[in-house]
Symmetry: C2
Subunit: 461 residues, 2 copies
């Protein structure tokens, strides 16, 4: 999983050399494997905000060690009680005293309130200040530790469990410096019970459901599933219990069949830009063995890099058609008011990109398409909630080690790998875990969000 430089500096000789030369030594990140403990531990909590009880219940349900520890695995501060900037000193004090004891691959998690959902301007200021704080902490942490901020709207009780479990586990290894909002889009009353969980553990509301197989019984579609990130998304959703219909273009048949076989799913060759894509997909999804889809992952994407003056019309159209217009067309069918393909409580996840946020030279087409996807999830979130009690979100990968990035010239690749707080590229599994998290029943109040999976890349807007 590690790149060659990382392997070198992880060894005795390379580690010694890197230390002496002051070179970065990227930590081998701990990643989740089935059977692992749910959370990193021990977890130290403080803060005294409105989410304290809920947080304690979540940690207990997850079997987390809590209480004093010489080297905590996670430091969690409930900052929802901070209503003016003077009170930020409490948050400073908690982390100041303990941050140097945080274990390798540890977690800093702050719970806050979305600034526009606070009760006063002073509270909004204090809550916004936390964003600058947590992003700085993420840049200071070493040895694979991460820092994130979960902003919980006041009218979203009992909804934090899924996000807390993700952010305090090895599943979020490559997510750092991020602000994730929860409960900012009104929920639909018809939302399935599992998503509208009470303050106790999700599992307790449905005895047949488990955190080990959170997607059991769900039907998923993943586009671009034959290779790279898409193939790993398919495998991860299957690991979590979903049936996966693996979609990719004709011509990828061999690789696609392999992936489908590995996940005990089904392969479907389909050009998503063709006029027949919607009827073909609709026909398959409406067959009674599926009866619609619970989770649609718009992962297919292409690049045709050229600077704008040298980019021909075909290069523009190809990227926009595959990455954006096909997603719009398929999503319209998923949400067809008369007969939606997406089932009640369903989820849509789009693969955007950090370059859709920051822009990139040579990628006016790609960045436009990926920014468009961010616009799509923001624009459609209220409708998906209202119509189906579902959600639509995006993940935005940063530098991920794939065959695509392996083809990038060495110097550019090496810069991309190191220009983030974890000093390494991410793995496809890191993106897949984020998708699985957004797809999980407990994530029903996370809607319209774009979650960066980038190791806190320096790049941004």
């Amino acid at each position: 999983m590690a790149d060659r430089y990382q392997k070198f500096t992880s060894g005795a000789v390379g580690g010694f050399a890197a230390r002496r030369l002051g070179l970065p030594r990227p930590e081998l990140l701990r990643r989740f494997r089935p059977g692992d403990r749910a959370l990193v531990g021990p977890v130290l909590t403080a803060g005294g905000g409105r989410l304290g009880k809920e947080l304690a219940a979540v940690l207990e349900a997850a079997g987390a060690e809590t209480g004093p520890a010489a080297s905590p695995g996670a430091l969690v501060f409930d900052a929802t009680g901070l209503t003016e900037s003077a009170e930020l000193a409490r948050m400073y004090g908690f982390f100041h005293d303990r941050i140097r004891t945080l274990a390798p691959c540890g977690r800093v998690l702050i719970l806050g309130t979305p600034p526009d959902r606070t009760g006063s301007a002073r509270e909004a200021v204090a809550q916004k200040a936390i964003e600058g704080f947590v992003r700085s902490v993420g840049k200071e942490l070493r040895r694979g530790a991460t820092a994130n901020l979960l902003q919980v709207a006041p009218d979203a009780p009992g909804a934090i469990e899924s996000a807390v479990r993700f952010l305090l586990s090895a599943r979020s290894a490559y997510v750092s410096g991020q602000v994730l909002a929860l409960g900012t889009v009104p929920a639909h009353s018809a939302e399935p019970a599992a998503s509208a969980a009470a303050a106790s553990s999700l599992a307790s509301t449905d005895p047949t459901w488990s955190w080990e197989k959170p997607l059991a019984g769900r039907k998923a579609v993943v586009t671009g599933a034959a290779r790279g990130i898409g193939a790993v998304i398919a495998r991860t959703l299957a690991r979590d219990g979903a049936f996966v219909l693996c979609v990719d273009v004709p011509g990828q048949a061999a690789a696609l069949t392999d992936v489908a076989a590995a996940v005990r799913g089904e392969a479907m060759e389909l050009d998503i830009t063709s006029a027949t894509a919607v009827p073909a997909l609709g026909a398959r999804l409406r067959r009674e063995d599926l009866g619609g889809v619970d989770l649609f992952v718009h992962n297919a994407g292409v690049t045709r890099d050229k600077t704008l003056g040298r980019m021909d019309r075909t290069q523009w159209d190809t990227v926009l058609d595959v990455n954006l217009r096909a997603v719009e067309t398929l999503t319209a069918a998923l949400l067809d008011p008369a007969d939606p393909l997406l089932r009640p409580g369903g989820r849509i996840v789009c693969t955007s990109s950090i370059n859709g946020i920051a822009g990139a030279a040579g990628q006016t087409n790609y960045a436009a398409s990926k920014a468009g996807l961010i616009g799509l999830v923001q624009a459609l979130a209220p409708r998906v909630a209202d119509q189906l009690g579902g959600t639509v979100n995006a993940v935005a990968p940063g530098f991920i080690e794939t065959r695509m990035t392996a083809a990038v010239p060495l110097f550019v690749r090496e810069a991309g790998r190191r220009m983030n707080s974890l000093r390494q590229g991410g793995q496809p599994i890191d993106v897949a875990e984020a998708v699985a998290f957004l797809a999980a029943p407990g994530s029903g109040r996370i809607n319209g969000q774009t979650l960066r999976v980038c190791g806190q890349s320096l790049l941004g807007a």
Copy 2:
């Protein structure tokens, strides 16, 4: 103004060497001087959106050359007519054909609609896609050219002139890759006529008013005015016609007096964190020669850099007190419902920082304070508009060449300077021009915004 490397590569020998070695050659940016033409030119326009007539009137009023040109100074596309992603190809086509003819220090400007103010999800997607496009264009442009997106809410007619003039002039030399929204906060009916301009030129609504002295008759306060960016802000506001009360801490008396004398303003020694700051400032501003303040620039700021585990409580408190809490306290007095110090139509501008957006190692305190300022302008914008017909905005400088940044270690300084699309640090005047733009009468519909002045720094969130 140029740094040493830039001077070297601008010369014959250095330029030759840099070209042969493939090193960056930062352009000497053209900056505005009184007497210069209002806009870069010639200006090529296209698009056919709802802002076409307004744009044409603005360009005519500003005396811009328009029509075909071998080497246009500005390419402006009105993208407000693009209501679905397929139509983005029109924008691509316009720039594809002309981008390589753009003059050095030229301007790309796209007019769009804020995605959340569009009429349909498809339009929101297309408008959001433009953000990725313009940020990529900014990263591709060479020779000091910039690219920005002005998102104009549909219910803000006749409000673009000030922003178009700024973004198409040499005043915005170091502003690139930015998305600026206009008309997103409801305007107050009592707003002064000059801010609620009709679709014709601002100047025509008030014959005594001119674009040469846009702040004539206005009373301004600048904190932290003795040195650095603050001193240049004071000079720039005075250049534009304002009376400037220059505020700085006791101990900066000599420098402060010099600045005040240079701007024919007034010096006031004041510790803005002291309990007597509000009464002292209030007493001065209420004297009848001033009778309140039209423009308050919260520019004072300090750093006390340490990683969180080594940052003592005093270092935390000092930075939060000066950079954030004093601003909150002074702003409360400016907006005191019973007797506001800010006059009707008044403006507040805060100096935030790119590190408040992106976070920075060693700056948990500073980044929290600067992020808090972004929260402050977002939270208070509707209130300032409603109460006084005024605005509150922030500027967020990137790497600016000052005595503060000159003290940064060479390697870090050099990285900061080059890690942006213009391959150089900005000058204090670049920040001051942005402040003057937000303060200008015509900018009354720009509210709650944070304008980055960073040369499209790679750093972001």
